[in-house]
């Protein structure tokens, strides 16, 4: 009985702790922006870089004037653990915090999984870099400010076929991952449309042995290795391609635009090309001030992967924050329903280019993708010519 009492006591304590910890500090003069990003799991590294952009934007502009009244912007971060089954409860946590608008997530799968929770609560969500069409397709509450996979896949296929001049491509994606699965499908469609040939394989969750996949690509005589997977897997793939002395170039989408990749490829004999949202150097004043901010805090530096390279997702996170502020200003209110209506017609000029949404699904109208190649000698990105379609 003593034990039972002790247990009850312990649980009450936890509950009491939670009660004081969980009480939100909102009052009439604050507006809450939810950040729905992974901080752990497969996409933890990318999610943290995207969050950094929002954090920086928040430090640049911590208040916003809406309808003649100045509000303090409170940013509520929640970790969706890169996992579709944790997404609904993480989303519910944001809804519970009374967010006016939600930003995120890095990784399309969690965005799709968390979306209905936002829909049920009537809160608009703005995808920052989730490129799978299914995120916004057929719904009115999920918006996005980046380009889509059909576009990105086409750009990459054209690059492989025309610029690299290869006719056989090896495509690898993670099983059950909407982002890489979708992008690979669109790449194959476009590449085969051009007259090329594709070998397509998938690796299961938690796999760390890419020997066989690289060997398969070599055995099939492929000219390019297309694998737009998470940065965690990307490190291993690069390592394995180098270890097996494969000669084909590596091609990937926006996830690989990260200093994690640069560090993995540095000093090795490998060619890595990616498409992305923002090339470092496009906006010098933004670059220099965010670098100073990142270097000024050891936590930020660690979250950015240990150096001050500006990832495209960070720039996108920065733009997303201002896009959200602009939408609220346009709505003249912090009420989610009004913000949602205002989002359709919100436009800003961000560091990654002008952002405006189309009227069918609320996707960004973007027709330019930037192409970057890793300079393995210095560990930096070299910007190639951007590709514009349509």
């Amino acid at each position: 009985m003593k034990k039972a009492l002790a247990l009850v006591l312990a649980l009450t304590m936890i509950f009491a702790l939670a009660a004081c910890g969980g009480s939100s500090k909102s009052d009439a003069n604050t507006v809450t922006i939810g950040v729905f990003e992974p901080a752990s799991g497969d996409n933890g590294a990318g999610g943290k870089q995207e969050t950094l952009g929002v954090q920086y934007a928040n430090s640049v502009q911590p208040t916003v004037e809406i309808g003649g009244k100045t509000y303090n912007v409170v940013v509520k971060y929640v970790d969706n653990e890169s996992s579709n089954d944790k997404a609904p409860s993480a989303a519910a946590e944001l809804v519970n915090a009374g967010c006016s608008i939600v930003l995120g997530s890095y990784g399309s799968g969690v965005s799709i999984a968390g979306g209905p929770t936002f829909e049920a609560a009537g809160i608009p969500a703005v995808g920052i870099t989730c490129t799978n069409p299914q995120v916004t397709e057929g719904n009115t509450y999920y918006f996005r400010i980046c380009f889509l996979d059909p576009f990105q896949g086409t750009v990459l296929a054209n690059y492989a076929y025309n610029e690299l001049g290869v006719t056989k491509a090896y495509c690898l994606n993670k099983l059950g991952d909407d982002y890489s699965g979708g992008l690979v499908k669109y790449f194959i469609d476009a590449f085969e449309g051009l007259g090329g040939e594709c070998v397509h394989e998938e690796f299961p969750d938690g796999n760390s042995d890419f020997t066989s996949y690289v060997a398969n690509a070599k055995a099939a005589d492929c000219g390019v290795f297309f694998s737009p997977v998470s940065t965690e897997a990307a490190q291993l793939i690069i390592d394995q391609v180098v270890a097996q002395g494969a000669s084909f170039p590596l091609l990937a989408g926006d996830t690989w635009d990260s200093n994690v990749i640069l560090q993995a490829a540095k000093g090795k004999d490998v060619q890595v090309t990616v498409t992305t949202f923002y090339p470092e150097g496009a906006d010098a004043s933004f670059d220099s001030s965010i670098k100073a901010w990142i270097n000024g805090n050891s936590t930020n530096l660690a979250n950015n992967g240990g150096d001050d390279t500006v990832a495209a997702v960070t720039a996108m996170g920065y733009d997303a924050y201002f896009f959200a502020l602009a939408a609220m200003q346009k709505a003249g209110s912090t009420e989610p329903a009004k913000v949602m209506d205002a989002l359709w017609s919100t436009e800003i000029n961000g560091v990654t280019g002008p952002i405006a949404l189309d009227q069918t699904n609320g996707d960004a109208i973007r027709n330019t993708a930037f192409v970057k190649q890793a300079d393995t000698a210095t560990g930096t990105w070299i910007a190639l010519d951007p590709v514009t379609v349509g």
Binding site: G22, A121, G176, P204
Partner: protein, 377 residues
């Protein structure tokens, strides 16, 4: 005292308590904000309670150490979402993007829920034929293996026209689509979860208290003695396995309803471990224990401890609170429970009014004793 009268009184108490719980729930749902995280936790808690009880039926009452629960939940979730998805969605581009859906039928919520259980049970019957011959740890690892194989099978490209490959299924009938019969009013979602789980758990309790349940317990306590008493070992094991999987399937279907989207990748071994932990924390062989533990587990994991993740709550300049700290604390709590309360919250006992009365009687006696007794030193 008249035992039968006492029993009747207890049953009445239970019925009143349950009715009161449902009424409170209904009032809460009608008055409070439906997006409150309290409801999210309660819904997920009650769904996990069902699967924990179904696992307890196997592990706690039949003594079959099976680790295949996630696999059967997977079957249930997929069956439900595929069957209940509107035909227009199936034929459209929004879900089956890369495949042409081969299933041309659409069922209502209840037929889909029941079929989810049935299909899981059918798979269990097939799997049970070979694996139930195995003993203890071998059975555990074989069922765990089957769950992994099922997961791979559902992600297989060739199964795409049915399962949509490894991609998410969505836009099926989720909790917000449940209507009160013959009307167009939305059924309160939390109440719905509680009702379905409650009915299922009640059926399991009835089964445990029937002659079959006694046979299960006999097998758990001593297989050889049970066989000698004329209990058909294989028949009863298979039965327990199939029934447990049936309810795991239903629970999987409800999980699908609850989280709006479903994907095979989430039904990993880690999920089975979570359910096993719930069963153990509640007490192996206690239905009420499983239910209580499941609410505590879900609430701690997804709600109460979240403040530990926020670095803004750091005090004294210590930088220990950051993302991930919640899970460290949570696993330490679990270790403490496992090491020092290895019987779990309820042991193998059930909630009973008699114990509550005895507890209060003792409490009163103690209080009286300390009041009237010697002064405190």
């Amino acid at each position: 005292m008249d035992l039968r009268k006492d029993k009747k009184k207890d049953m009445l108490c239970t019925a009143v308590a349950l009715a009161a719980m449902f009424i409170v729930l209904l009032v809460m749902e009608l008055t409070m904000k439906s997006t409150s995280i309290l409801f999210t936790v309660m819904k997920k808690g009650v769904i996990y309670a069902l699967v924990a009880v179904s696992m307890n039926l196997l592990n706690g009452f039949t003594g079959l150490f099976s680790l295949g629960q996630a696999g059967f939940m997977l079957i249930g979730a997929y069956t439900y979402s595929i069957l209940s998805m509107p035909v227009s969605v199936k034929m459209g581009e929004s879900v089956y993007k890369y495949y042409d859906c081969a299933i041309g039928i659409e069922l209502g919520i209840f037929p889909s829920l029941i079929l989810a259980g049935v299909i899981a049970a059918v798979f269990a019957a097939l799997i049970g034929l070979p694996v139930l011959r195995l003993k203890s740890d071998y059975l555990a690892i074989a069922t765990l293996g089957f769950a992994e194989i099922l997961r791979a099978l559902f992600q297989w490209d060739a199964m795409g026209p049915v399962t949509n490959g490894a991609n998410v299924l969505r836009q099926y009938k989720d909790l917000t689509k449940v209507k009160i019969p013959f009307t167009n009013i939305q059924f309160p979602p939390t109440l719905f979860c509680f009702l379905v789980s409650g009915i299922c758990i009640a059926i399991i309790v009835l089964l445990i208290n029937s002659s079959y349940g006694r046979a299960f317990k006999a097998i758990r306590d001593d297989e050889i003695a049970a066989e000698a008493m004329g209990i058909n070992l294989f028949k009863h094991k298979e039965m327990s396995f199939v029934i447990s999987s049936f309810f795991a399937g239903i629970s999987g279907a409800m999980l699908a309803m609850f989280q709006y989207t479903v994907q095979a990748a989430q039904f990993k071994t880690a999920m089975t471990y979570e359910i096993l932990l719930i069963v153990v924390i509640g007490g192996i062989g206690s239905v009420t224990g499983s239910c209580i533990a499941s609410f505590l587990f879900i609430a701690c994991n997804e709600w109460w401890l979240r403040f530990l993740d926020e670095s803004s709550n750091n005090i004294l300049g210590l930088n220990i609170l950051r993302s991930g700290f919640r899970k460290v604390v949570f696993s330490i709590i679990i270790m403490i429970i496992v090491l020092f309360f290895s019987k779990g919250i309820m042991g193998d006992r059930e909630f009973s009014w008699a114990r509550i009365r005895a507890f209060f009687a003792r409490f009163k006696k103690k209080a009286a004793a300390s009041e009237g007794g010697e002064p405190n030193v």
